[in-house]
Symmetry: C2
Subunit: 359 residues, 2 copies
């Protein structure tokens, strides 16, 4: 069985394309009482971007905080805010949810668009294909590139029990706006960590057992663009990083991430690390699995003067270490992609603990 891959059906790419958002949304606005919800990373609350956003007086603008990675309780809270706003007005669902920010913000926008049409808590839907009803129309506008959240069929959330995405065809954005100008202002370290998310997941997918020609073509081009961005000095590196992220996300169609992402999920859940930096911390200790990738990654780190914290999991209390292992082991497809069907014999709890204790 091959996956019938759901692709974002409308893509606009180009420097300044953000200025066309108003026109794009105009087609979706429907008469009286129709409103849009903008979920925007609060780092932009004092920025020039704020003045360019086509927020009309009937719209709801919510500044979201992503100092912590998205949690299911936060998604539920944001959904309740939108519902309260509906009650104060037309009682209609919003005409669209527009997420402007990095992977965390885009994931919040995806999750809220799903939870407006599906009952209960977002924690009920962490898993694969548990969503029953189509989402509200939703638009993703990245201001950081590398996660692939702009094209993926998941929204990764930390719930009460686990860090796991809401994986569904309905999660996929209806529209993305890829404007390289929006990522040009990102802090250098954040740009690096997020960009490495793309680089690392391509290393994992290209070295995985699930790969086919579709995913290989996307993954190879994405990694080539990452090299140009992080080892070269091109003037159009923002454009390239944005396309690398898009291609990296597309490559996941018939592939999977691997050892690094699985371990990174455990680090994030227990230590509260952001996904990008969590990946980098884990990847640096995975020479055994991805020798060439890890060496090239270190050259990229050096060139960009990146130093990340060390010894974070060393000497950690045993129950927290066990929880990290639990979180990592939930991600069976990742382990199977990386190590084949016999992965359970290779990647024992002891082996995972040993890896974590080096980090």
């Amino acid at each position: 069985m091959f996956r019938n891959f759901k692709v974002v059906p409308h893509i606009i790419f180009g420097r300044g394309s953000f200025n066309q958002l108003d026109d794009i949304l105009a087609e979706k606005r429907r008469g009286v009482g129709s409103f849009m919800v903008f979920l925007v990373d609060d780092v932009f609350s004092e920025s020039g971007l704020k003045t360019k956003m086509p927020v009309k007086k009937q719209d709801l603008l919510i500044w979201v905080n992503v100092d912590d990675e998205p949690k299911t309780v936060y998604v539920d809270e944001l959904t309740d805010r939108v519902r309260a706003y509906m009650k104060s007005g037309s009682n209609n669902l919003p005409a669209g949810i527009i997420g402007i920010g990095g992977g965390s913000t885009m994931d919040l926008a995806k999750a809220v668009s799903l939870m407006l049409t599906n009952p209960g808590s977002s924690a009920d839907y962490q898993g694969w294909d548990l969503i029953k009803n189509p989402a509200v129309y939703h638009v993703g506008i990245p201001t950081l590139s590398g996660t692939g959240a702009e094209v993926s069929r998941t929204t990764v959330l930390s719930g009460p029990e686990k860090k796991l995405g809401i994986n569904s065809d309905y999660t996929v954005f209806d529209q993305i706006v890829l404007d390289p100008e929006l990522i040009s202002g990102a802090p250098a370290d954040q740009r690096f960590y997020t960009g490495m998310d793309c680089y690392i997941h391509c290393v994992e997918s290209l070295n995985g057992t699930y790969l086919n020609t579709f995913s290989k073509a996307y993954g190879e081009k994405a990694i080539e663009l990452c090299r140009e961005v992080f080892l070269g000095n091109g003037p159009d590196s923002d454009d390239k990083l944005m396309i690398a992220s898009y291609f990296g996300g597309m490559s996941i169609a018939y592939s999977q991430v691997g050892v690094c992402h699985a371990l990174s999920y455990g680090l994030s859940f227990v230590l509260g690390l952001h996904h990008g930096i969590g990946n980098c911390i884990a990847f640096d200790y995975l020479e055994e699995y991805y020798p060439e990738g890890v060496h090239e990654f270190r050259r990229m780190m050096k060139k960009h003067g990146i130093n990340f914290p060390r010894n974070l999991a060393k000497g950690i209390e045993n129950h927290r270490l066990e929880k990290m292992v639990d979180v990592a082991l939930v991600l069976e497809p990742l382990w199977e992609n990386a190590l084949g069907t016999g992965w359970k014999e290779i990647m024992t709890r002891e082996k995972i603990k040993e890896l974590y204790q080096r980090m």
Copy 2:
């Protein structure tokens, strides 16, 4: 203004994925009177593929003939056949149109799906964004790779006056099934000519003035795959050719074809040549515009023992030559992409005639 690019929203890729077509269509069939229309290249009427097609007893199977390139009168005739079938049954529109074949067959399927919901003749819609109503759900299943018809927003038709596509977001397939096994039986020369459509349009777009990073990434990877297919000897060359075609089609988002395609349209319209061979004939005389591409193309021809007819337009009657020039000159975006905004000074009627007379 950047194009808000409409992408085929559902893609399935893999050897044997054609076997999942029945499941994919099952979701679209709607109770009593609901039927599918299969438009299938008549070369398959005696083939093993016929037995694998999920045609139900209520469905309409039409074997289409593409010895000639698709004409608007043929589209209108096929649309009338579907309408007559509707009248004999439920009077409902079909639940879907499934095109199985090369670029011509896929273009027929696209055009019929549009004409079932838009009044008049298909000739009325040759041009850009003239279609007013969404098409019937339509699925493209290529059995030849290279045209990019599986992803494009056009269906190229020869009308009473001109060869020109129906360009519209509604033209884009709702689903494509990319099964490399389906292209493995194509005759070697046809496979070559169709594959060269991809190679040539990538040369044209990568050397054009419209290009941006999105289209460049797709075009570069497509051309790399074409090289592996036509200059290498890989075991998975069907898989690669199928992805090259898909990537080549995607690269057109923010690029255009150029001199070769413009001239090829004239050759097809007046001499009735198929698009693939028309491109090859024209390209071989375009060293002046695409020196590296033409040299590599000749190496590919040599490796595959391809000899195409020569002197087809030599000594042609003047009124036919003039018509060829007219058809080529309609395609203004192609010329502008190839030669810049001042193209009219470079590419005069005399210059085009001179090129045609060599072919």
